[in-house]
C-alpha cells in the first residue's frame, strides 16, 4: 500500500510529477490550477530529485519551454486551465508535429473567452479534435477522482514516451480543487537514459539530431503525415481505456467522464431505486475514444444519454460510435454549473425513456 494522503487534485498532480521522476515543470498561474506550481515551488523538488520548476512569463513561453525540454528527451510537463491552454495550442501542434513526448494538464473552467473560474468540460473538442493547426491527436486522459489525477500523471508520461506524442490530462475545476484520499505511488528516480533521437549534443558516434516539424517538400510532408496517422491508428487500437458501472443488466446507458461521471454514479443509484435499469459507461481515454465498446452496448441498451458540463461535445463521438442504431441524446449544464443527480435522472426519463 502506497502512502495515503488527503490532497487537492491539483496538489496530487504536482506530487505525482515529482514521484514519476519528472525532469521539469514549466507553467504560468491561472485559476483553478495554480496549486500545481505553488505545491511544486513549496516542495523544492530541485532538492528532492533535481527536478526543474520554472514560472514562465506566459503560457506561450511555458509550452515552448516544454517543447525545448521534450526535444532533449526529458520528462517535462505543464499545466494550465482553458484560456491558458488555448494560448498553448500553437506549441502543442509543434510538439505533436515534432513527435515529442510531454504531459499537459488542463484543469478546465467554463468558457468561451475569459468565461468563469468554475468547473466545466467545454474543452473536449479542443483536446480530442486537435485544438491547434494540422492533423494531429492528443492522447487525452479524463480523471474522475483525485486518485486518478495522481495515477494519470504516471500513465500520461508512460504513453507520451511510448508513442512520442503529447498526452493531456483533461480534468476540470472540481477535480482540481476538491480534496480526497489519494494513495500515492512510490517515487521513481529521474531517468538518466539518453534517448537516441534527443538533442543532447552531437557526439562522434552518431549523426546530428534535428527536432523540427518543418518539411517544405510536399511528398515528404505527406509521408510524414501518413506516418503520424499510422501511429494514431495504433494508439486507437491499443490504448482505449474505460470503466463500466452497473452495465450488466442495463436497459439504458449514461455516458459521462470526469466530474459528470461522479454525478452520474449517484444518478444511477437514484434511477435504480426507482426501478430504472441504467448503467454508466465512463470513457477514461477521450482520445482514443472507446467507440467500439460503446457500439457494442447498442446490442443491449435502448438509448444513451451523454451527460457533460458543456453544450454537448462528447455526444457527437457517441453518435458516431452508435451509427444511428439507438437513440442518443445529451444533457448538460454550462458556465460552471454542475448538474445534479435528480436533474440527470429526470432528463433520462424525459429524453431517452419517454422520448
Amino acid at each position: 500500500m502506497g502512502e495515503l494522503r488527503l490532497m487537492k487534485g491539483n496538489e496530487a498532480v504536482a506530487e505525482a510529477a515529482i514521484r514519476a521522476g519528472a525532469d521539469g515543470y514549466f507553467g504560468y498561474p491561472i485559476t483553478p490550477q495554480s496549486e500545481v506550481m505553488e505545491y511544486l515551488m513549496a516542495e523544492k523538488p530541485h532538492e528532492r530529485t533535481g527536478m526543474v520548476v520554472l514560472q514562465a512569463e506566459s503560457e506561450l513561453a511555458a509550452i515552448n519551454m516544454v517543447y525545448g525540454g521534450a526535444a532533449c528527451g526529458k520528462k517535462v510537463m505543464t499545466s494550465s486551465s482553458s484560456p491558458g491552454i488555448s494560448l498553448m495550442q500553437e506549441g502543442i501542434s509543434y510538439i505533436a508535429g515534432a513527435e515529442l513526448p510531454c504531459l499537459l494538464v488542463n484543469v478546465v473552467r467554463g468558457g468561451p473567452g475569459l468565461g468563469t473560474i468554475q468547473p466545466a468540460q467545454s474543452d473536449y473538442f479542443q483536446s480530442v479534435k486537435g485544438g491547434g493547426h494540422g492533423d494531429y491527436r492528443l492522447i487525452t486522459l479524463a480523471p474522475a477522482s483525485v486518485q486518478e489525477m495522481s495515477d494519470f500523471v504516471r500513465l500520461g508520461f508512460e504513453l507520451a514516451f511510448k508513442y512520442r506524442n503529447p498526452a493531456m490530462i483533461l480534468s476540470d475545476g472540481a477535480i482540481g480543487q476538491m480534496m480526497e484520499k489519494v494513495e500515492l505511488f512510490d517515487p521513481v528516480p529521474r531517468s538518466k537514459e539518453i534517448l537516441p533521437w534527443a538533442t543532447t549534443g552531437k557526439t562522434p558516434d552518431r549523426e546530428r539530431n534535428i527536432i523540427t516539424s518543418l518539411d517544405l517538400d510536399p511528398k515528404r510532408q505527406e509521408d510524414f503525415n501518413l506516418k503520424l496517422q499510422k501511429k494514431y491508428r495504433e494508439i486507437e487500437e491499443k490504448e482505449v481505456r474505460f470503466e463500466k458501472i452497473q452495465c450488466d443488466d442495463a436497459e439504458y446507458l449514461f455516458v459521462a467522464y470526469g466530474t459528470s461521471s461522479r454525478v452520474v454514479q449517484k444518478a444511477v443509484q437514484l434511477a435504480r431505486s426507482r426501478g430504472i435499469r441504467v448503467g454508466l459507461f465512463r470513457p477514461i481515454t477521450l482520445w482514443p475514444f472507446p467507440s467500439k465498446e460503446i457500439f457494442a452496448m447498442t446490442e443491449q441498451v435502448k438509448g444513451i444519454l451523454s451527460v457533460e458540463m458543456s453544450a454537448g461535445q462528447m455526444v457527437e463521438d457517441i453518435r458516431l460510435a452508435v451509427k444511428g442504431k439507438i437513440k442518443v441524446d445529451y444533457y448538460g449544464r454550462m458556465g460552471g454549473i454542475i448538474p445534479t443527480p435528480d436533474e440527470v435522472v429526470e432528463m433520462l426519463e424525459k429524453k431517452i425513456i419517454g422520448g
Binding site: 520554472l54 526535444a71 506549441g91 543532447t200
Partner: protein
Amino acid sequence: MAEITLDQIIQPENMVYTRSRIMTDTVLHYCPGCGHGTVHRLLAEVIEELDLQSETIGITPVGCSVLMYNYMDIDMQEAAHGRAPALATAIKRLMSEKFVFTYQGDGDLAAIGTAETIHACNRGENITILFINNGIYGMTGGQMAPTTLPDMKASTCPYGRDVQMMGNPLKITDIVATLPGSYYVTRQSVHTPGNVRKAKKAIRKAVEYQKRNQGTCFVEIVSNCNSGWKMTPVDANQWLEENMLPFYPLGDLKVPEE
C-alpha cells in the same frame, strides 16, 4: 621556370584557410550577398575552435534561417516563431553543462518574440543569443520589420515607414543591455572583412562567457537583405553602412567587469 602542378599546391603547408568541419556539405539556400552564410560560418568556426560540437544545442527561428539545421553538424531544434529563447531556457536549465544558443532574425526576436527575448535575458538565462537584424522580413518577401528604419521602404510600407502611423523601429539590443540578467551585449556587422573579424571575436566571447554562468550573452549582427532591399549585394552593404549603422551603431553595449 618549371610548371607547378595542382598537387604541389595542395599541401598542408600552403593551406591558409579551410572550411569548418561544423559546416555540412549542404548548399546554403541564402541569396547571394546575404550575411546569414557568413554568420553561420563564424559560429561554426567558434564551435569547432572551442571543441563544443558534442556540447552544443542550437535553436533555429522561423525566418530565413529556419533551415540552419541543415547547414551545421550539431544537434538543433526548430522553434515556433519568436519562441527560441523559451526553448533555450528549458534546455539550459535541464542540462546546465551544455552550450545552448538561439539564432534569430529581427521579426522573430524583436516582434513576435519580444516577451520571450526580454524575459529570458531578464532572468539571466545562461544562453547565447545571436540576433540578425536586417530591418526586414526576408523569408515572407520583404515586409516591414520591427527594426525597419524610418522612411525605409518595405512591401507593407511601400512609401516608406511612416513612424507617425506605423510606429518607431525597436532598438531591442539597447533594452537588453539595460536588463540585470544580461552579461555581454554587443552589436556587430559582417559587411566588410574587418567587421567579419570583429564579429567573430564577439561571437567567440559570447560563446565562451556562457561557461561563466553569469547571464545572457547577446550579439546583434546588423546585416543586409539585398533581395528584400532590392539592391545589388554591393549596394546593400553600402546602404547598410550609410543608413543602418548610424541608427544601429556598432560596438559593445555591455561588457563583463573583469
